[in-house]
């Protein structure tokens, strides 16, 4: 029985593309380098962004406007709720949004079945300090005269939030309060058969947390700490969505069944007939394509969960897969969630975040980050009991107060107590390394809370580390040799217990050495490679550890705009916009990340020989000087692909769209200009050059599509032309024409248009160090400086770009590139490593170059040697998608808006350039009144109106309708918009009057 269809993530285990070899993928027209991880919904590639959330089922103590509180967001499959324990005026309360008021904590204890004050105190703690602090709370319950469980439930029942829809089964308020305690308040703590003991223990713990935090401010939890965060991946989001849709379907089926079964019918009722597969399919489809994640049962409503996969460059697509979106509101001006968290180390890239409003809220995963998926906690629980955990219900309250006893939590729930926590932790970790429990189970100790936490839940950030035992890393040289030979794989390291995954909490419970020489007797783990703490985008930067940190951040944003290749199958794609470089090159200075992400196979940029010097004055403000000969030879040349499409529809009234052939001029018998590029079938043919306003698809549409066809009428229906024409000042070439059908079985025609663009003044280029610049001047080769070897730079960059930006990495890249070119090899600029400057210099010297990378240059214009030695060599430059051709705009005359008769707005509508208020102010202050008159009226919307000098109203055709005379009507010119305003005011019974004077 089909209940629905589910969108499939590409390259997931169920995808046809998974496990295919490079050859098989190529045969399927797929790029073998494509990372997958996105969905194709309604013809669009959609990514479900990773959502960052505060961890659920976890106590968080914090100061909320001076009130110390401990909050828990419980989350189970059925319920999501937030419970708070807070301290107010020295008394403790429980707060929950199903309750109108804060409930005194002792009332809660009594409602949970712990009635005697002595028993309550034994849960809270019997030390004098606790007794003192808790006395007031006990007194409050006494004053409320609540002594029994029933009284407590009655009290809670009176404070319930009145529900809008009263359920059919009538329950008394106390019963409802008990249900609430059982299912909603602290929903994740299990209650079986109305035994509230675990819940009472949990509430007592929360109270103790609040009390402890009141005394010691350092015990507040940090919300921004990544151990308190969970990341939701596409899988869990989809499962949430599916569960909701599935439950809705079941509910609806039940409703239908309930309605129909009592009726007596001939045929037996069959539920299967009422199942609609489309409901789940359409629900998932629309959720992914719109990005609106509405989960009814959690009352969750979230927008922008999915985004269209950006295919601007390979890196932008890859970067999108690793993007982490925070739930935090963007408009709020709080620095905490935005700032770099120390616990982010190795998990999230410290450089890759956007600038501006989403700064620090949108993050990217680091290279080796793994996000856990949920594993069954049951085997772990059994193991924990075997390792010495005792059930808390079997010991009385007193051991809780024993400083040697540690509480054990599993996934936020109390599992039990342990007397020897060190032994427990050691055993559990040992079992994990031996593979007896899942490798992503984490266990860590909190000494301040006297707790041991075990986590098996999904969404934790974790990262592999080499295990160090007795000051020696377990990974030895022979392991690495085996890896090199291909005998060993990463998973084997994990299985052999040489490497393990640590999540943020456990990482903070370990001593991790960055390098092998830093290992000391306390070290527990060794970092695998420091450069992996950066993400995909930051990994492109050579020598990022030599750069000022914001520069790396800028590059992370710019690498996504660089054009180059987007995949091996880029020629098969028909994107709405695609930029390709004609001759992309792999960078001379690579990094390990570049090799790991295959950027060198689908590069986006070219190695330009750069001379760092000033030239001409057209290089101020980061402008670049380009060599014309380099451009002639193909430097910076790019291809811009755009598409235009249309559908040929069939309508309900038996009419349909049609495509007509080209029209010939009656006199000359030649095809008219507009139809010049059309093939005989009315669609452009591939290879054709299309000019502005030429028609690419000569489509016609029936004038009437809605009404039913009239009987017996001739098939002659009037048609109106709705051609698809080309707009753009520069012509394009037709790369491909695709005729297909869409989901509604209409004809779909797509035309892929191509432009080849040569760099021109104003085109934007950038190196990989956040140093962007526009082309300021294109210089003939003979005017470019040249050196003793006859080398002419491709590009000149002004040295003023260096001192304030402090991009030392760029100078090193230049040096490394130069040596690499001479030696015929690639240099490495891997973060926290890379080729050493000394080695690079030795190579330069070996080839007779100056060790500092500076050469003796001659001016190309005067021919004389330059006084300074010029730092020159190859630097990898990216051409960015911003090009003047797409932006330049000017207008002398052009279209006007219909209503106001003023020039239209915006480049796309060939709009005018606004002389704004400030510009107007300038002209006023200067006294250029006639210029204002010209700009604001004559060149815009001047209009001649007739005005009656007597009544001051607008007249019409020299006739004043109010005065019924034409005696005193004069003609004046005013802006049409002004006249329009007067008329609109008149229509609202406001009479503007013009008083005319002789001028």
């Amino acid at each position: 029985m089909l209940i629905g269809r589910m969108p499939l993530m590409l390259r997931s285990s169920n995808c046809v593309l998974s496990g295919k070899t490079e050859f098989e993928l190529s045969k399927l027209n797929e790029c073998p380098l494509d990372p997958g991880g996105y969905f194709v919904v309604r013809g669009q590639e959609k990514v479900i962004l990773i959502q960052e959330q505060l961890s659920w089922n976890k106590m968080l103590t914090e100061d909320f406007n001076g009130v110390v509180q401990c909050q828990v967001t419980s989350s189970t499959h059925e319920k999501k709720s937030r419970t708070l324990v807070l301290s107010k005026h020295g008394r403790y309360y429980l707060k929950h949004n199903s309750m109108t008021d804060d409930i005194p904590i002792v009332v809660i204890f009594k409602a949970l079945g712990i009635v005697s004050d002595q028993e309550i105190m034994s849960h809270i703690g019997v030390d004098p300090q606790s007794q003192n602090r808790f006395g007031a709370s006990l007194l409050e319950a006494f004053n409320l005269k609540i002594f029994t469980q029933q009284r407590a439930l009655d009290y809670m029942g009176s404070k319930l939030v009145v529900k809008r829809f009263q359920s059919a089964t009538t329950k008394t308020p106390p019963e409802e309060a008990r249900d609430l305690l059982m299912t909603t308040i602290l929903a994740h703590v299990p209650v079986d058969n109305f035994n509230f003991q675990m819940k009472a223990i949990y509430v007592a713990l929360m109270v103790r947390r609040v009390m402890a935090a009141e005394l010691d401010k350092t015990l507040f939890d940090d919300r921004d700490y990544y151990g308190n965060k969970r990341l939701e991946l596409a899988g869990s989001l989809i499962s949430l969505m599916f569960e909701d849709l599935f439950k809705r379907m079941n509910w609806e089926l039940k409703m239908i069944a309930d309605k129909n079964i009592p009726k007596v019918k001939a045929a037996q009722f069959d539920v299967v007939k009422h199942m609609r597969a489309a409901q789940i399919t359409a629900g998932l489809e629309s959720a992914i394509s719109s990005g609106n994640w509405t989960i009814k049962r959690f009352k969750m409503e979230r927008g922008g969960v999915t985004q269209v996969l950006s295919r601007l460059s390979y890196i932008s697509a890859l970067g999108m897969m690793t993007r982490v979106n925070s739930q935090f509101e963007k408009s709020r001006k709080v620095s905490g969630p935005r700032s770099l968290q120390p616990s982010q180390w190795g998990m999230l890239c410290p450089s890759d975040t956007p600038e501006g409003e989403a700064c620090g809220l949108v993050k990217n995963l680091a290279l080796m980050t793994h996000i856990t998926t949920e594993v069954d906690e049951h085997p772990v629980m059994i193991l924990a009991y075997n390792a010495g955990v005792e059930d808390i219900r079997e010991v009385s309250g007193n051991p809780i107060n024993n400083p040697h006893v540690f509480l054990v939590f599993i996934n936020g729930n109390v599992l039990g107590l342990t007397l020897n926590h060190k032994h427990l932790v050691k055993n559990m970790r040992y079992m994990r390394r031996k593979g007896r429990i899942g490798s992503f189970v984490s266990i860590h100790t909190s000494y301040s809370q006297r707790c041991v936490f075990v986590h098996t839940d999904g969404g934790r950030l974790c990262r592999p580390y080499i295990i160090v035992e007795k000051c020696r890393p377990l990974v030895k040289q022979h392991h690495l040799d085996e890896l090199q030979r291909g005998i060993r794989k990463f998973d084997d390291f994990l299985l052999d217990g040489l490497i393990e995954y640590l999540d943020v909490n456990e990482e903070n419970d370990s001593f991790i050495a960055c390098y092998e020489e830093n290992i000391n007797p306390t070290t527990t783990h060794l970092e695998i490679e420091p450069f992996t703490l950066l993400g995909v985008c930051a990994g492109l930067v050579p020598y990022p550890h030599h750069n000022q940190s914001p520069r790396n951040t800028y590059q992370c944003a710019m690498g996504k705009q660089a054009m180059g290749m987007i995949g091996y199958n880029q020629k098969n794609r028909i994107d709405s916009l695609m930029y390709n470089l004609v001759y992309p090159q792999a960078p001379m200075v690579k990094s390990k990340t570049i090799e790991l992400t295959n950027f060198d196979k689908v590069p986006a940029g070219q190695n330009a020989t750069v001379a760092v010097m000033s030239y001409s004055g057209y290089d101020i403000e980061d402008a670049l000087i380009l060599n014309k000969a380099s451009i002639d030879r193909g430097y910076g040349r790019c291809l811009v692909y755009k598409n235009s499409k249309c559908t040929v529809k069939r309508y309900a009234n038996q009419t349909f769209d049609r495509i007509m052939g080209p029209v010939k001029d009656a006199l000359t018998n030649k095809v008219i200009f507009k139809h010049d590029v059309l093939d005989t079938d009315g669609i452009v043919s591939p290879g054709e050059q299309v000019q502005n306003k030429q028609i690419m698809i000569n489509k016609e549409m029936p004038a009437v599509t809605s009404i039913n066809p009239l009987e017996g009428q001739s098939p002659q229906v009037p048609y109106t032309a709705v051609p698809i024409s080309y707009k753009g000042s520069e012509p394009s070439y037709v790369e491909r024409v695709m005729v297909s059908a869409n989901a509604e079985e209409d004809f779909l025609i797509k035309i892929l248009l191509r432009q080849t663009r040569i760099p021109e003044i104003g085109d934007k280029f950038s190196s990989r160090h956040g140093q962007k610049g526009v082309t300021g001047l294109i210089v003939d080769q003979e005017d470019m400086p040249f050196n003793d070897f006859g080398i002419c730079p491709d590009m000149i960059m002004n040295p003023h770009g260096f001192p304030s930006r402090m991009t030392v990495g760029k100078t090193l890249e230049l040096l490394g590139g130069k040596a690499g070119v001479l030696e015929g090899k690639f240099h490495y600029g891997t973060a926290f490593g890379g080729s050493k400057v000394q080695d690079i210099q030795a190579e330069l010297v070996r080839h007779g170059f100056n060790y500092m990378g500076k050469d003796f240059f001659y001016s190309g214009i005067t021919g004389a040697p330059l006084e300074a030695y010029i730092y020159s060599g190859p630097v990898y430059y990216q051409k960015l998608k911003h090009m003047v051709q797409d932006k330049m705009h000017a207008r002398a005359r052009g279209p006007k808006a219909v209503l106001t008769r003023q020039p239209t707005q915006g480049r796309s509508r060939e709009g005018g350039l606004r002389l704004g208020e400030m510009e107007r102010d300038c002209l006023i202050s200067y006294g250029a009144s006639m210029l204002i008159m010209e700009r604001l009226m004559i060149s815009s919307d001047a209009f001649e109106v007739d005005v009656c000098r007597i009544c001051g109203r607008l007249a019409y055709c020299s006739w004043c309708h109010f005065c019924q005379s034409s005696a005193h009507v004069s003609k004046i010119s005013m802006p049409y918009a002004c006249k329009l305003l007067f008329q609109e005011l008149t229509s609202m019974n406001v009479v503007p009057k013009l008083i005319l004077e002789d001028y």
Binding site: D632, F856, G863
Partner: protein, 332 residues
């Protein structure tokens, strides 16, 4: 060669180039044709496949530079300018293909052709136009066995080389030129890669043009000059330091005699790397300089014209320019 002391020098210090304090350069000199003639000297040092190397001694940088600039951009050569694409089913785009065709160096001697003018017909005349065609079709080799895996074995014509270009004689061109005198200089320039079913059918039009219009018309790969290096030893350097000194310069620049004393053997081919300044104890032992009026020209031809011819053509261009300038002055 005049004595070293008389040569105008530029001193190459560690961080900057410095003129001799006594040297005022061109500032006060009045041009005198007799002195110029007396000073001017040209010696050809090398002329082989790699290019032409000659010395131009005793001129101002402006003059030397003028020749360099003219060779780069104002000596004409022939290159493909128009590409008629009848069929191109390869993956390479029409514009990119046309651009690549334009950059192919042609053997044709530009001196035998005229520039295209406004009046010349659409297809050009036999005096100003060369026509070529490129017809390649990639097919699967039928005789290839299953176990063959290289493209060369499976496909026919899967690589389009410049050698595939065929010259189409226009008018009487067939009687004057041969394929080898006007065709591509290199047979092995890869233009595109094809796969079975891909086809190219192009007609190419080559015209005469100037390097300043497009780099493809430049007759040289590069033409440049450098100033003659001069290295002076200020003191005796011997033993280990002598070898260190030797390593600071290009091979063959510093010699070491039997007493293990360093001496300047031949400074001409020093690359000017100034790496001596790395060693503070050697930095004062040498004076690095350049002879300001001794230009070592290197002309690397693309192949259509011999480098010496290119230089002579450049001189002719300069002469013509001077002539027209004089004419213009006199006309006033």
């Amino acid at each position: 060669m005049p004595k070293t002391s008389q040569q105008p020098l530029l001193y190459m210090e560690e961080y900057r180039v410095k003129q001799d304090p006594q040297d005022y350069g061109l500032a006060d000199e009045v041009f005198n044709i007799d002195i110029f003639k007396q000073k001017l000297k040209v010696t050809i040092v090398r002329n082989d496949e790699e290019g032409l190397e000659f010395d131009l001694i005793g001129v101002y940088p402006a003059i030397a530079n003028a020749f360099r600039r003219l060779m780069l951009s104002e000596v004409p050569s022939m290159a493909i300018e128009k590409v008629y694409i009848y069929n191109n089913t390869s993956i390479i785009q029409d514009e990119v293909l046309a651009h690549r065709m334009g950059l192919l160096p042609l053997k044709a001697d530009p001196r035998l052709f005229t520039y295209r003018t406004e009046e010349s017909p659409e297809n050009g005349t036999e005096q100003d136009t060369l026509e070529y065609e490129l017809k390649v079709k990639c097919t699967r080799r039928k005789d290839a066995s299953k176990d063959q895996s290289t493209f060369d074995e499976i496909y026919k014509n899967h690589k389009v080389f410049s050698g595939h270009l065929k010259w189409l004689p226009k008018g009487k061109q067939g009687q004057i030129y041969t394929e080898s005198s006007v065709g591509c200089i290199h047979e092995d320039i890869l233009i595109a890669q094809l796969r079975p079913g891909h086809e190219m059918d192009l007609r190419l039009i080559a015209v005469k043009g100037l390097g300043k219009d497009h780099a493809k018309f430049s007759p040289v790969a590069t033409a440049y000059y450098r100033l003659l290096p001069l290295i002076k030893l200020n003191r005796e350097v011997s033993g280990k330091d002598a070898y260190l000194l030797q390593s600071c310069f290009s091979p063959g620049v510093i010699g070491i005699d039997e007493n293990e004393n360093a001496y300047v053997k031949d400074a001409r081919y020093d690359s000017g790397s100034r790496n001596v300044y790395r060693y503070s104890h050697l930095a004062d032992a040498v004076t690095l300089a350049r002879v300001r009026d001794h230009y070592i020209f290197t002309v690397e031809s693309v192949g259509a014209l011999k480098p010496e011819v290119i230089f002579i053509e450049a001189v002719k261009v300069l002469k013509k320019k001077c002539r027209s300038f004089i004419d213009e002055i006199e006309a006033e």
